[in-house]
């Protein structure tokens, strides 16, 4: 009987390597099999037949960042909640359920405050409150 080991990590590494090898294998196969007739027109970015104007790497609206921001905060909070959640039942069985519940709920209540704040300020709306103005920059 093998004791519990680091072996659990081995399949992850193996699967990742398989993915990389599969990618390179498929790529290699397509290099061998596929025709290669490059032309300038073929390698222009697709814009429904028009000549592309400028680069696509242009500025984007800040609301994408705000969504990412709210996401990362919630992500981190859920990360912290995971170990507590996984011992919740154990603590409940030991008779400390009330204590665990108080800890857990006070943590979540602050999370709820965060989402309530963003909701009230309109960060969760995609369109309405976001009228970007350039004039504001000069204030």
């Amino acid at each position: 009987m093998i004791p519990a080991t680091f072996d659990g990590l081995m399949p992850i590494v193996i699967l990742m390597s398989i993915a990389v090898l599969l990618f390179w294998g498929g790529h290699f196969a397509s290099v061998i099999l596929a025709p290669k007739k490059p032309s300038h027109l073929k390698s222009t970015p697709y814009e429904c037949g028009e000549q592309p104007v400028g680069s696509a790497w242009s500025m984007f609206n800040v609301r994408f960042y705000v969504v990412g921001l709210i996401f990362i905060i919630f992500d981190v909070e859920s990360v912290l909640m995971f170990p507590v959640a996984s011992i919740f039942r154990e603590m409940n069985d030991m008779g400390q359920g009330g204590y665990a519940l108080i800890i857990f709920l006070s943590f979540i209540s602050i999370l709820i405050e965060g989402i309530a704040y963003c909701w009230k300020k309109g960060d969760l709306d995609w369109v309405k409150s976001y009228q970007v103005s350039l004039n504001d920059n000069n204030k």
């Binding site: 519990a4 680091f6 921001l69 665990a100």
Partner: protein, 177 residues
């Protein structure tokens, strides 16, 4: 044996990508190399038996911070802000003249020697412990630590995150006319 291979792979990924972050001129590529470095560090955590921290590393950095950084790069133009001043290997003029470089080299030599000394003393103080293949679950212990010993830090971190959310939202939010 496997753990040494995992360690080698992760260390290579970590160091290679960290150096690549420093020498790449393209900021977008830097972000992607940072991603590689962070995944490598997650692998290193795994070799240390810190499974929960390793997965947290992947979850927060890969899923969150790197995407946020890529967004920020896009929002600040998405162009390569490459000038000679940013190029480390080009030895940009505004970073100093040959004297500053010489002094920097000497200082870093001293720094490295001190560190080597430090590390070697640490090794002598703690002769390489050999660990078996035991891999106890850290999750439950971490949970107990979080709700008992470190409960204040646990609760305060949520306040910190609330503060970060509110502050960053106020700063980043586009101003209304």
């Amino acid at each position: 044996m496997f753990i040494q291979i995992l360690f080698g792979l992760s260390a290579l990924l970590t160091i290679g990508c960290a150096i690549a972050v420093a020498v790449t001129k393209n900021i977008m590529h830097s972000c992607v190399f940072l991603l590689g470095s962070l995944i490598g560090i997650a692998g290193l955590y795994a070799t240390l038996g810190a499974d929960f921290v390793a997965v947290t590393q992947i979850m927060v950095y890969v899923g969150g911070v790197v995407i946020l950084m890529l967004f920020a790069v896009m929002l600040t133009g998405g162009k390569d802000y490459v000038s000679k001043a940013q190029n480390l290997l080009g030895l940009a003029p505004n970073m100093g003249n040959k004297w500053t470089y010489t002094i920097g080299l000497l200082v870093s030599l001293v720094f490295i020697l001190t560190n080597v000394k430090l590390v070697s003393s640490v090794i002598k103080a703690n002769p390489a412990k050999t660990f078996g293949n035991e891999f106890p679950s850290t999750v439950n212990q971490l949970g107990h630590l979080l709700v008992k010993d470190h409960v204040l830090a646990f609760e305060l971190s949520s306040v910190l995150l609330l503060g970060a959310l509110v502050g960053a939202a106020i700063i980043a939010r586009p101003r209304k006319q």
